[in-house]
């Protein structure tokens, strides 16, 4: 019973870490998309971009100042940066997120290792009890 509770406990913790990994991955992909868009904006001739307005709909929009980018740098502060600096900033954030992903993955692996160990013990206990039953019969 106690082992099962351990397993449940670890399972819940693992779920939280998986959720965190997903969040980090989403953030990383978003940052990659933003870098791609920022870089494309500078080389595009007429500053036209596709602006997603939700529900899968997009409109063509002209970017007034592709060289000036507003970036949320943290602590709910938004600053204006040059296109190049914004790309640099996003690249740094990606590296940071990748480092965090690595740490969360390591913890998750450790948890999963412990869960496998508990499963083995449960399985062993179950087989022992079944063997005991058969002997009694």
């Amino acid at each position: 019973m106690m082992l099962q509770q351990y397993l449940k406990d670890y399972g819940q913790q693992a779920e939280i870490f998986v959720e965190q990994l997903n969040l980090l991955e989403n953030g990383r992909m978003e940052a990659f998309a933003a870098i791609e868009a920022l870089e494309a904006m500078v080389v595009a001739d007429d500053n036209t971009v596709l602006l997603q307005i939700g529900g899968g709909a997009s409109v063509r929009a002209k970017v007034l100042e592709p060289e000036k980018v507003l970036v949320a740098i943290g602590a709910e502060v938004v600053v204006e940066r040059s296109n190049k600096d914004a790309v640099e900033f996003l690249k740094e954030r990606i590296m940071e997120m990748e480092a965090s992903q690595k740490r969360v993955s390591e913890t998750l692996d450790k948890l999963r290792g412990q869960m496998t160990e508990i499963n083995k013990r449960l399985e062993y206990g179950y087989q022992q009890s079944m063997a005991g039953h058969q002997e009694e019969e």
């Binding site: 449940k8 819940q12 943290g74 602590a75 940071e96 913890t107």
Partner: protein, 345 residues
């Protein structure tokens, strides 16, 4: 822990040092242009024009010192500001750190040969220590207050509150205190079993009712048990809740009325960054908070929440959760954290 912040602070520290270091001795010819230093008339004129002029000339020519000016470090301070904001350090806290560093450095006399880096590190350390506060020594609090000391844990869902209660229980148990845990999270499925297993593992008594029971009643019983058994500390777990759910916040009010906690401890995760700071401020405003515990600090590279939370809500940080084991909780030591961030980096 806080690896990203450490790297960034190191860069900011180097930048500040080189800005100040760049204020090197002017060419020998330059100070010679100010010979009237011995002339009374000129000295008088200088005094009336700019009171610090004579002083500046004196230190430049006679004592071979330099005075750090606002201009010398303006750019480096602006970079430090960005560094802190990018690490999710709240804006008011960033402002306080910058103001403190500026105050420490501007107008400072630097002798030739004196280590610029030591000067910068000392200014940064003092600024960080000022915003980090003094921490909270739970052991000392317990020994200096009437027993049982009742500690109520609050916070939002899924931040590691129940695990933190178990970790703190284990910590206090090892420090020689007797502890009882009240399983006040009667709302979340499996929460009672979870804390019961923790309590069994660390050898602490737990008081529990059925799932769905009134948490106030559970925690009242826990306090009564502690009084009758002369237990030192009551750790009261509660269900996670968001500060905007008024019915749950009212329930917390009721718990407070019934169990009359000596300390209300707010638990959140360090990785939530500025969100954790905002939520802590909300909880403090609605149900009050006497101290903070930040979990998952080992996963947090930015360190923004840990740096900002004490200064923003004016309540001390008590513990940092740094792993999965029961011993993976460390009493928050501001000087230790600052040393880790700035020393040997």
């Amino acid at each position: 822990m806080f690896g990203g912040l450490r790297e960034r602070l190191q860069a900011a520290r180097n930048r500040l040092s080189s800005s100040i270091g760049a204020v090197v001795a002017p060419p020998a010819a330059e100070p010679v242009v100010t010979p009237p230093i011995t002339s009374d008339v000129s000295t008088e004129q200088a005094k009336s024009a700019a009171p610090s002029f004579v002083d500046k000339v004196k230190v430049l020519v006679l004592e071979r010192e330099f005075i750090v000016s606002d201009k010398n470090i303006a750019e480096a301070l602006s970079e430090l500001e960005m560094t802190l904001l990018e690490s999710d350090v709240a804006l008011p806290v960033t402002d306080a750190i910058i103001a403190h560093v500026r105050k420490s450095l501007v107008g400072k006399h630097r002798k030739i040969g004196e280590s610029v880096d030591a000067m910068v590190v000392s200014a940064l350390k003092a600024a960080l220590l000022q915003v980090l506060g003094k921490g909270f020594d739970l052991k000392e609090y317990i020994t200096t207050h009437p027993r049982p000391v009742k500690i109520l844990f609050t916070g939002v869902n899924g931040t590691g509150k129940t695990t933190s209660v178990a970790k703190i229980g284990s910590y206090l148990h090892k420090q020689g205190f007797s502890v009882v845990i009240g399983a006040g999270d009667t709302y979340r499925a499996g929460a009672i079993e979870q804390i019961a297993v923790h309590a069994e593992r660390i050898g602490i008594k737990i008081i529990q009712h059925k799932e769905g029971a009134d948490p106030s009643a559970v925690l009242f019983d826990t306090v009564q048990y502690a009084i009758s058994h002369k237990i030192d500390v009551v750790l009261a777990d509660t269900a996670g809740r968001f500060h905007n759910k008024s019915n749950l916040m009212n329930q917390l009010e009721k718990i407070k009325r019934v169990m009359k906690p000596d300390l209300v401890v707010y638990v959140d995760e360090a990785v939530a960054g500025n969100d954790a700071v905002i939520r802590a401020a909300e909880f403090d405003r609605t149900v009050g908070a006497d101290a903070i515990v930040l979990t998952k600090a080992d996963m947090d590279s930015r360190g923004g929440a840990a740096i900002s939370i004490a200064h923003t809500i004016g309540k001390p940080l008590m513990f940092l959760g740094v792993g999965q084991g029961y011993d993976d909780i460390i009493p928050f030591d501001p000087a230790g954290v600052v040393d880790e961030l700035l020393d040997g980096a």
